[in-house]
């Protein structure tokens, strides 16, 4: 193992950690001199700079075929999604952090950078132990980020997130120990070899099941989603954006790696008439439950943040539909959709944060008359929610369409598409989701607000966090190949299938 080569591979993460430390140091120096509070704008600027440099380093780094250790891999899939996560993280940084001023602003952004570091490391590993450590680095930072500023709601969010997350981590670690017991290795590629050698033992299957339960917690798949509504409601907008967009994308990459590299041979099938035991069936059940739970419960919400949380559960369901099909193009379209979903939900959180600033409330009725108060916010909200509902020509529509068609192509018996039952359920649930997205848009476009005053302009960063995702969603909706092409290519090279 060559340490200097390893360090070069980890340069983007190193840049993030250094920025975080600088941020902490500056903030402490500021406060110890009792001058004044460390300005949030400076913290945002510093974090932006760090993320941009990390992105630049990532872009310039040569694509290493093999780093000599499974701990760190920088295959095309990892590089692509590290870029995606940095981008989503940057947009999250630009959001206003909290509804109230955060006294410890330096710590807040330092933790954010630590969680981003954890997310990046999680993407680029084929080693189960390292995966767990990286995931917990990201998660622990996120638990803390949910608790700023210390209000009752935020503390509730943070505590619930921590308790549920801690239990899920325990499940996952327990499962990982089973997998190690079965194969005597923590390397995914070696586990694949061990599994291919003979019929899967109960030990391996139980281990995989436990790991998937742990990941389902992180992805907010029903019935493991109970933390999501409270976190979305209580946590600051920045944290919600990070949890919903970046962390979900990372969770999906991890599942794709785990299942398609390590456990490809125990996929089984969820196809009607061709059912075989394996993870495909578990994912299909999780997908069905998530889509039904998420969509039905979202119908009853009056708080937009909680509505977005249930929509997150439903969208995890759609992603799992594609994964249950166990195909490379289906996984590619799921990766496409998770990026687009992240952009849309991040944008929706950004607009919600703007409405909260003006109305100090995130209830549906506080969106009334948004189109008169701020046409920009209203149109952007239209783009985000229509994309989530799957209205063309926005990227969310294409993503769902691609996932459903690729999942349908998974074979069943007698020339019949096997997953038709699951895809059918997904299509119908997605139609139902239009109802609750429209109920927000109805407030924004149809109802009259209490007054016709124009709302004050957003800060530059906040406006960018609204405009950039909206433009990307329109662009990717019209030209999906811009993202789907690289993802397909990266998957082909990284999975070696």
């Amino acid at each position: 193992m060559n340490y200097s080569a390893l360090f070069i591979q980890l340069l983007p993460e190193a840049v993030l950690v250094i920025t975080a430390l600088v941020l902490l140091g500056v903030a402490v120096a500021f406060e110890s001199k009792k001058l004044q509070q460390f300005p949030a704008a400076a913290a945002i600027a510093l974090a932006t700079l760090g993320i941009l440099i990390a992105g630049g380093v990532l872009f310039l780094l040569p694509c290493a075929k093999d780093s000599g250790t499974p701990l760190i891999v920088s295959d095309p899939l990892a590089r692509l999604f590290k870029g995606v996560v940095l981008g989503l993280g940057l947009l999250a940084v630009w959001l206003p952090p909290g509804r109230r001023e955060i006294p410890q602003i330096g710590e807040f952004y330092a933790l954010l950078l630590f969680s981003l570091t954890g997310l990046l490391l999680t993407i680029g590993t084929n080693h189960l132990l390292f995966l767990f450590v990286a995931l917990e680095l990201a998660s622990l930072s996120l638990y803390l980020l949910a608790g700023f500023p210390s209000t009752a709601k935020a503390s509730e969010a943070s505590l619930k997130y921590f308790l549920f997350g801690g239990v899920s981590a325990a499940f996952m670690l327990f499962g990982l120990s089973f997998l190690y017991g079965f194969s005597h290795t923590a390397k995914l590629t070696d586990i694949a070899v061990a599994l291919a050698a003979g019929p899967p033992t109960a030990l391996a299957i139980t281990g995989l099941l436990l790991v998937l339960v742990g990941l389902a917690f992180k992805m907010a798949a029903a019935p493991f989603h109970y933390w999501a509504p409270d976190v979305y409601q209580g946590a600051p907008a920045t944290t919600v954006a990070l949890v919903s967009a970046a962390s979900k994308a990372v969770g999906l990459v991890v599942i794709v790696r785990l299942l398609m590299i390590g456990f490809h041979s125990v996929a089984g099938s969820a196809g009607l008439g061709a059912m075989l035991p394996g993870w495909s069936m578990w994912l299909a059940v999780l997908a069905a439950v998530s889509m039904i739970f998420g969509n039905v419960l979202a119908l009853a919400q009056s708080s937009v943040r909680r509505l977005l949380a249930y929509s997150a559960v439903a969208n995890t369901g759609y992603l799992l539909v594609a994964l249950a099909a166990n195909g490379q193009s289906a996984a590619g379209s799921a990766l496409f959709y998770v990026v687009v979903y992240g952009l849309a939900t991040l944008g929706a959180v950004a607009v919600t944060a703007a409405v909260e600033r003006d109305r100090s409330d995130d209830s549906l009725s506080s969106f009334a008359g948004l189109v008169h108060r701020s046409p920009l916010q209203a149109v952007a909200l239209l783009v985000f929610l229509s994309s989530l509902a799957g209205i063309p020509p926005l990227a969310g529509f294409f993503g769902k369409f691609a996932m459903f068609s690729n999942a349908m192509a998974a074979t069943g018996s007698g020339g019949q598409p096997g997953l038709a039952w699951l895809v059918g359920l997904g299509a119908i649930m997605s139609a139902i989701s239009l109802y609750y997205y429209l109920s927000v848009l109805k407030q924004a476009f149809v109802r009259q607000g209490p007054d016709e005053k124009t709302s004050p302009c957003l800060s530059l960063c906040h406006a960018l966090a609204v405009i950039v995702p909206a433009s990307l969603i329109v662009l990717l909706g019209l030209f999906p190949s811009l993202l789907l092409g690289p993802i397909t290519q990266a998957l082909k090279l990284s999975l070696g299938l």
Binding site: P393, F398, G414, A427, A431, L438, K442, V446
Partner: protein, 493 residues
């Protein structure tokens, strides 16, 4: 001028309207009118070219779009597409003219209006089912906004109901399309390719009803028609015209050009059910229209009845039936546009009521003679009197029906009689009330404006033209029916 100008003009119009500074918001209607006229001219030019050069190759544009899924940006204009484009253009022009007085947020109104038009053009031109589905879905959100913001009478409920029915139909269409894509080897979404594959009969047996039903919801097939009357009544005039005039045709067009060619065996298996539901729709729609108090509800239910003829023509599936179905789509598009324009704009904006009893107080044939004459002619067209387009269309369907399901003609005849009854009842009560000399004299209403007169005459002239000289339309439709898409349908026993 190639037919792509229809789509281009509509979306260029949307952009221009949105870019207008708020001082010039009044110009939005002018831009919308210009865009609609460009569209109608492009469609008419396409029709003329096809008529004069019937042997020429069909206009076709095929560009790769998403190679990962085998999606192409594929447009093509055969005779059926061209006639339906012309219909859309005509209704669009009339719709803009009938909305000349919209003053509440005019830029947004015309932007949504033109988006619907562009989407409809796109559906009629697409030869790639993904592109077709995109255009089909583009229409949904504008429909909601037009009704919920500018509508009347229970508008938010009507808008939401219509939208949920549309998206529910779309979900079924999505399932049907991706099933066909997957079963055909997951390589291409091209309509002609998907139609050339023979799917297993067990697949066709369930995929056809799913796909057909998805389209039929939007075509107003009984018992999934209930969105149509509530939606039409709640919608502002231009939106009712578009909904009844062209959007319901999208459903019928999709059923004809996608569902039936993709799964011909499934169609063969289910056509009796379609015919039955269509006939029930014809009679039920007419009977319900007979009992309505609101003039727009009468027209709304009459749309359900008239669209029953389209579905019946599809179920018959011989040359006469399909030709009649498309003629009825065009005829009903024009007549429904006309009726909704007169009821929603000309009458309602002046009297502020559509209640048949309350309208008696206005003595409309004296206070608004122009509207009374126009409505009488439109009613005659709607009843299917010879000389109007409705006659040509319905007689074709009935001839086709006689060859396929002779017994059902009896039920259709009853439906036609009831249509006469409800049309005359509504016309009589609204425009020619019986008044005692002792009643207070009706107030004087402002006479028709130039925009109303030109919209009414445009639609009336076209309906008469089709009724008197249907040949060019029939030639164009037969040209479209020769497409390889319909071989499997027309060759059924």
């Amino acid at each position: 001028m190639n037919p792509a100008w229809t789509i281009l003009s509509a979306f260029a119009g949307v952009l221009l309207v949105l870019l207008l500074p708020s001082r010039f918001a009044g110009l939005a209607r002018v831009i919308a009118l210009a865009a609609s006229i460009v569209g109608v001219v492009a469609a008419a030019a396409g029709c003329l070219q096809r008529l004069t050069h019937p042997e020429a190759k069909v206009w076709d544009l095929n560009l790769p779009w998403v190679p990962e899924l085998g999606i192409h940006f594929h447009l093509s204009a055969n005779g059926i597409s061209l006639t339906l484009l012309l219909l859309t253009g005509l209704v669009a022009v009339a719709g803009v003219l009938f909305s000349w007085n919209v003053s509440h947020r005019p830029r947004a109104f015309f932007a949504w209006f033109l988006t619907i038009i562009g989407g409809v053009y796109g559906v009629f031109l697409s030869r790639d089912v993904f592109l077709l589905f995109v255009c089909y879905e583009v229409v949904i959100l504008p429909k909601y906004m037009l009704i919920a913001i500018w509508g009347s009478t229970n508008k938010e409920y009507g808008a939401m109901k219509l939208t949920m029915y549309s998206i529910g139909g779309s979900a079924l269409i999505l399932i049907g399309l991706v099933v066909a894509y997957a079963a055909a080897g997951a390589t291409s979404f091209d309509l002609d390719f998907l139609a050339s594959v023979t799917y297993s009969s067990s697949l066709q047996a369930w995929a056809f009803p799913v796909l057909f039903l998805g389209f039929a919801v939007l075509a107003g097939m009984w018992p999934f028609h209930t969105w149509a009357p509530t939606g039409h009544v709640a919608a502002p005039t231009a939106a009712s015209m578009l909904l009844a005039g062209v959007v319901m045709k999208l459903g019928a067009y999709g059923a004809l050009c996608v569902a039936m060619p993709l799964f011909p065996q499934g169609f063969e298996q289910w056509k009796w059910a379609i015919a039955l539901l269509a006939v029930v729709g014809i009679v039920y729609g007419a009977l319900t229209a007979l009992a309505q108090k609101d003039l727009k509800f009468v027209i709304g239910y009459s749309s359900v009845s008239h669209m029953g003829f389209v579905l019946l023509g599809l179920a018959v599936a011989n040359q006469w039936g399909l030709r009649g179905a498309i003629l009825q789509m065009i005829s009903h598009g024009i007549i429904a546009g006309l009726l909704f324009g007169i009821a929603g704009r000309v009458v309602y904006e002046r009297t502020h009521t559509r209640d048949l009893t309350e309208l008696q107080a206005f003595d409309l044939w004296k206070s608004l003679p122009g509207a009374a004459i126009a409505f009488t002619l439109a009613t005659a067209a709607s009843m299917g009197l010879p000389g109007f387009s409705g006659f040509v269309a319905e007689i074709s369907v009935v001839i086709g029906l006689w060859r396929a399901f002779p017994w059902l003609t009896l039920a259709v005849a009853i439906g036609i009689i009831i249509t006469g009854a409800f049309s005359l009842r509504a016309m009589h009560r609204a425009f020619f009330p019986v008044r005692k000399p002792s009643d207070t004299p009706a107030q004087i209403l402002p006479s028709l404006t130039w925009s109303e007169i030109s919209a009414i005459s445009l639609l009336l002239v076209v309906s008469l033209a089709i009724g008197i000289y249907p040949k060019p339309w029939v030639v164009l439709i037969d040209d479209g029916l020769r497409s390889s898409l319909f071989h499997s349908i027309l060759s059924l026993p």
